[in-house]
């Protein structure tokens, strides 16, 4: 585990005032927010910045972190496995890390370094206080492909959880959850895993784990709300003359679809209620894409020539010359 320099993550000196820390955070949050940033590693940078701010904005966490950084500077203590940094036992004595009532347990996103310092400290202190409290709910995301979303399936999820060993020392335990995903979950939907959040204290139940469903991007389809749009390649003759074509759907079904005569590229055909289900089911849209057969044989060339002869009055570039708009 690597010792994280939270001050350099926010680009502030160790003497920075609370106000300077806040200003630096906001500036970086605007710069690296994944919705606005053009930087390739925006998401990672944003996570680091969030983590650093979570510690430095909190008086107690910051004081404990500073004390720890000083001890590290005066002779870093290697982890028992020799791989880097491990906090010395009792480093957090005298500091109080009750979670600020600011938000859900989003530390799940943070680094192992963060969890090893503050996650365990919070847990230990809560246990020492013998407080009776239901465990916190946790949030995470799960990415599945569209086929799994529509048909349901199982997905192995690895979560890292902090547990205290017999001596009361925190340690990470890899938890593996085989999540049974019911058919028809859609992007942005939340699924709840009851009792899989943080453990409760004093005999109270554990919190829940909420997973936000994300669909793996796939060039073959686009998902919007409950609707699914996918391209349907057709030949020029199928588009011009109309045709019945067989279409494999993402849920594994295959349907026969009527392409109306004189269809243009981009025309949308709706398969009613073939999108995501629910009280108001979504639709599946097929967007026609015209694919040209190659003119790679005498017969194909002759057919294209015959088409050209038959459509001399057709000028595909007429709109380009139309200057009197």
């Amino acid at each position: 585990m690597e010792f994280k320099d939270y001050y350099s993550a926010l680009g502030v000196p160790k003497t920075a005032t609370d106000d300077a820390v806040r200003k630096a955070y906001r500036k970086l949050a605007r710069k690296y927010h994944p919705d606005v940033s053009q930087e390739a590693d925006a998401e990672t940078r944003m996570r680091d910045v969030n983590e650093a701010y979570d510690v430095l904005r909190d008086k107690d966490k910051r004081a404990a972190y500073d004390a720890l950084a000083e001890r590290v500077a005066s002779g870093a203590r290697a982890a028992p496995d020799g791989r880097g940094y491990a906090p010395p036992p009792g480093w957090d004595e005298g500091f109080d890390f009750q979670r600020q009532g600011g938000g859900p347990a989003d530390e799940a996103d943070f680094s192992e370094f963060f969890s090893s310092l503050f996650g365990a400290a919070q847990r230990r202190q809560a246990q020492q206080r013998q407080a009776r409290a239901r465990g916190d709910d946790q949030h995470a995301a799960i990415e599945i492909d569209l086929v799994t979303a529509l048909r349901g399936g199982e997905r192995l999820l690895s979560l890292r959880a902090l547990e205290l060993d017999a001596q009361g020392h925190p340690q990470f335990v890899q938890r593996q959850l085989q999540v049974r995903i019911p058919p028809g979950v859609r992007p942005g939907q939340l699924i709840r895993l009851a009792g899989q959040g943080l453990p409760g204290h004093g005999g109270e139940p554990a919190g829940d784990l909420f997973l936000e469903v994300r669909i793996t991007p796939d060039a073959r389809w686009r998902v919007e709300g409950r609707d699914i749009t996918m391209g349907l390649p057709v030949t020029p003759s199928e588009a011009a003359l109309g045709a019945q074509v067989r279409v494999p759907l993402p849920n594994g079904d295959e349907v026969e679809v009527g392409v109306p005569p004189n269809s243009r590229p981009g025309r949308r055909l709706r398969l009613k209620e073939r999108g995501f289900g629910g009280r108001e089911p979504g639709h599946l849209y097929l967007e026609l894409q015209i694919v040209l057969p190659p003119a790679d044989s005498a017969a194909a060339r002759a057919a294209y020539e015959a088409l050209a002869q038959a459509s001399t009055g057709f000028d595909p570039r007429r709109a380009m010359r139309d200057t009197e708009a």
Binding site: A105, Q174, Q178
Partner: protein, 104 residues
């Protein structure tokens, strides 16, 4: 120190939808806020219960409302913006994401 545990727990999950929606208190707890704050979100029109005409004790919220509430909560906490500004930022973020999806 990550100790691998070769145990896999099989868990059933419940989609937060029409059939398994969240009560006001559940939404507040899952988003790390108080019930009064959830009521403010509803009043500001940032989230809405599935059937707003019902009594508050009977309100039920879908997963989208919780996701939205969590995002508003973080904006309020980290950027110290007011509830209406946070609601506007979340709406604009959603619009950016929708348009980006359209671009493919």
């Amino acid at each position: 120190m990550v100790q691998p545990l070769n145990m896999v727990t099989v868990v059933q999950c419940t989609p937060i939808d029409e059939a398994h929606a969240l009560r006001v208190e559940e939404l507040a707890r899952a988003a790390g806020g108080e019930v009064a704050w959830v009521l403010e979100l509803v009043e500001a029109g940032i989230i809405a219960p599935a059937e707003p005409a019902l009594l508050q004790t009977q309100w039920r919220f879908h997963g989208e409302a919780l996701l939205c509430a969590v995002r508003v909560r973080r904006l309020q906490r980290d950027m110290e913006v007011g509830i209406d500004a946070a609601g506007l930022i979340v709406a604009l973020q959603d619009e950016v994401r929708r348009l980006r999806r359209r671009l493919g």
